[in-house]
């Protein structure tokens, strides 16, 4: 942290801009890159022979989301992420809804990734397996979450260098799996056969697509790191596009490999894929409830030759990456809550910092508590037979990880939908802010006398993510109840808080976004863009004066 003097002369702490291109990539990768470790098994279990199509559809929507985030994070490099863009584009109440949905995602992030981290470790330590040892699994996940909470309260976080090393190792590892898998075990005929014989029903496909989107969640990290990135307007587009394509490649690779790979059966190969004594196709084995939490590690072990090595380190590497991602949930939720509290969308106690450690301890504790409640709901069917019966009766017997996946998909689809609308609104009503990166495919038009460009990709992305939100509501028994319930509870709290403080409830507080934008560009070191913005403002004023004159 550095200390800078603000407008009033007070010295306020600011985040130091020390993140370079690889660091920016690593921050994003350590969050989004972990998603495929969770998503692969869930999607294979739901979409069966159409899993690669589910990933492709969700991947195309994700490209649109990624481009939207890239443009917005490069234009407004502040740590609020999606919540800030929506607040700025659509106003306070929508900013709150988007931020609250992101908060749901971050709390799920904590639980889901800690859960999966233990699942991956169970590949090496069988005592941690969920099915025969649900209590041990639950206790270890709980301890991990509490440990991360404690580390965040103390203020210890993994460094950019550590993220960089883990991300680099994972990119090399996944590329090696891809290389060996496609060259030595991939059989296009098997892919065709699997897709023809195991094509899912429309309901299952919709379920698969809605789960596939969770493999692409975490772009908030890029915006979160934007406030610490050097020259963000130049660096973010570069690293973001690499990140989007890398993640898309791995998701498509794993899904195609799972459907069309002949499991390795040579010397040193793992036991053949069997469930309850029956030989299974690889995709069905990976999607079964025994393996869906550690699908990437199991798949890697069946890659010819390289699998023997991969079986040893992929569970470990995966669990480290998942733990980083879980930690980013603790960190991200507290920072988003802090930012929302600063914008008067949440009560001021979320801004309270620990006297000794100077961290937002109240936010950290509050959202870790929410994550623990989610963990209890997810673990209940495994821990208690009566609870399992209730889940079977009302929620089609969803298991813990699917319960978390449901809510994760709901939160992501909701917040991303608002980000697309915010992008359109900001393009129309804030055309003067310089955009170093612009999504392609735009329609030029005039709004309030200014020349603007309407983003077609945002509309395509909104339709895509909107359909995923609809799929989530149709197919997810828990997601369609718990997700909207989370939003409604939040909105009631928001209304009570705003009313008690005498703040406008449905309207926004007056804010000077022009001064805010100048400050953002100044603190980010984008002085050329700041000059460009000042010139744009002057030009706009001149045009208005000319228009006013008779």
């Amino acid at each position: 942290m550095t200390v800078q003097t603000d407008v009033a002369g007070a010295r306020t702490p600011q985040l130091r801009r020390s993140v370079k291109p690889w660091g920016s990539f690593a921050w994003g990768y350590s969050d989004v890159g972990a998603d495929i470790f969770v998503g692969l098994g869930l999607v294979l279990g739901a979409a069966a022979g159409a899993s690669n199509i589910a990933f492709l559809f969700a991947g195309l929507v994700y490209v649109c989301i990624g481009l939207a985030y890239t443009e917005l994070a490069a234009t407004y490099p502040v740590a609020g992420g999606g919540q800030y863009f929506v607040l700025r584009g659509l106003g306070d109440i929508f900013g709150f809804i988007a931020g609250w949905a992101v908060l749901l995602d971050f709390t799920i992030d904590i639980t889901l990734f800690a859960w999966s981290c233990v699942d991956y470790l169970s590949q090496l330590v069988p005592q941690l397996l969920t099915v025969p040892h649900p209590v041990t699994h639950f206790v270890v996940v709980l301890m991990l979450i509490c440990g991360l909470c404690l580390l965040n309260v103390i203020g210890i976080r993994e460094s950019t260098a550590f993220n960089g090393i883990v991300s680099g190792l994972d990119v090399v590892s996944e590329t090696a799996i891809l290389f060996f898998g496609f060259f030595f075990a991939f059989n296009p005929q098997l892919l065709i056969h699997t897709m023809q014989t195991s094509w899912p029903s429309t309901f299952q496909l919709m379920n698969g697509v809605s789960l596939a989107i969770i493999s692409f969640v975490g772009l908030e990290s890029i915006s979160q790191a934007a406030q610490e990135t050097q020259r963000p307007a130049s660096i973010i587009p570069r690293t973001s596009i690499s990140l989007i394509l890398t993640i898309l490649i791995f998701a498509l690779s794993y899904s195609n490999l799972a459907l069309g790979m002949q499991p390795w059966s040579g010397h040193g190969a793992p036991p053949p894929p069997m469930v309850h004594g029956h030989l299974q196709p690889l995709w069905a084995y990976l999607g079964s409830s025994e393996n869906n939490g550690k699908a990437v590690a199991v798949l890697a072990s069946y890659v010819p030759f390289y699998g023997a090595l991969a079986a040893l380190y992929v569970p470990l590497l995966g669990s480290v990456l998942l733990l980083i991602s879980s930690n980013s949930g603790v960190f991200g939720s507290s920072r988003i809550a802090y930012a929302m509290s600063s914008s008067k969308l949440l009560p001021s106690f979320f801004q309270r910092v620990h006297g000794r450690f100077r961290t937002p301890a109240v936010s950290i504790l509050a959202f870790t508590a929410v994550a623990i409640v989610e963990l209890i709901f997810a673990a209940l069917p495994g821990l208690n037979a009566h609870a399992a019966m209730i889940y079977r009766k009302f929620f089609h017997g969803e298991d813990g990880i699917t319960f978390l996946g449901d809510l994760y998909a709901f939160g992501a689809a909701t917040s991303y939908s608002f980000v697309f609308i915010a992008l359109i609104a900001l393009r129309l009503f804030d055309p003067l802010s310089p955009r170093k990166f612009k999504i392609p495919l735009n329609i030029p038009m005039r709004v309030r006398g200014e020349r603007v460009e309407f983003p077609v990709v945002a509309v395509i992305g909104f339709i895509g993510i909107g359909s995923i939100l609809v799929f989530t509501m149709i197919t997810h028994e828990i997601g369609r109840v718990a997700g909207p319930a989370w939003l409604i509870c939040g909105l009631i709290g928001y209304l009570i808080y705003r009313r008690s403080r005498g703040l406008p409830i449905f309207r926004s507080q007056p804010r000077n976004w022009r001064i805010a934008q100048l400050e953002i560009l100044r603190t980010s070191g984008e002085l050329e863009l700041m000059d460009e913005y000042v010139n744009n403002l002057r030009e706009s004023e001149r045009r208005r004066d000319e228009a006013r004159q008779p």
């Binding site: 496609f182 296009p188 490649i249």
Partner: protein
């Protein structure tokens, strides 16, 4: 570091081409569309990175 990135980008392009050629060798089946899309994304990413690497080299 830049050499490693260059090699990686090259591997991605080669892998993308190899996947597409191998899939198309089995004829035009709609089931192979996902695999062809993967090959195309691999090539696009590799070319994007290679172009960036060459641009940086030309500048320095």
């Amino acid at each position: 570091m830049n050499q490693a990135r260059f090699v990686f980008s090259f591997i991605y392009v080669a892998l993308g081409i190899a996947i597409i050629v191998r899939l198309l060798h089995f004829g035009l089946h709609r089931e192979l569309f996902g695999g062809v899309a993967l090959g195309a994304v691999l090539i696009a990413f590799g070319v994007y990175r290679l172009a960036f690497y060459l641009r940086m080299r030309a500048q320095s």
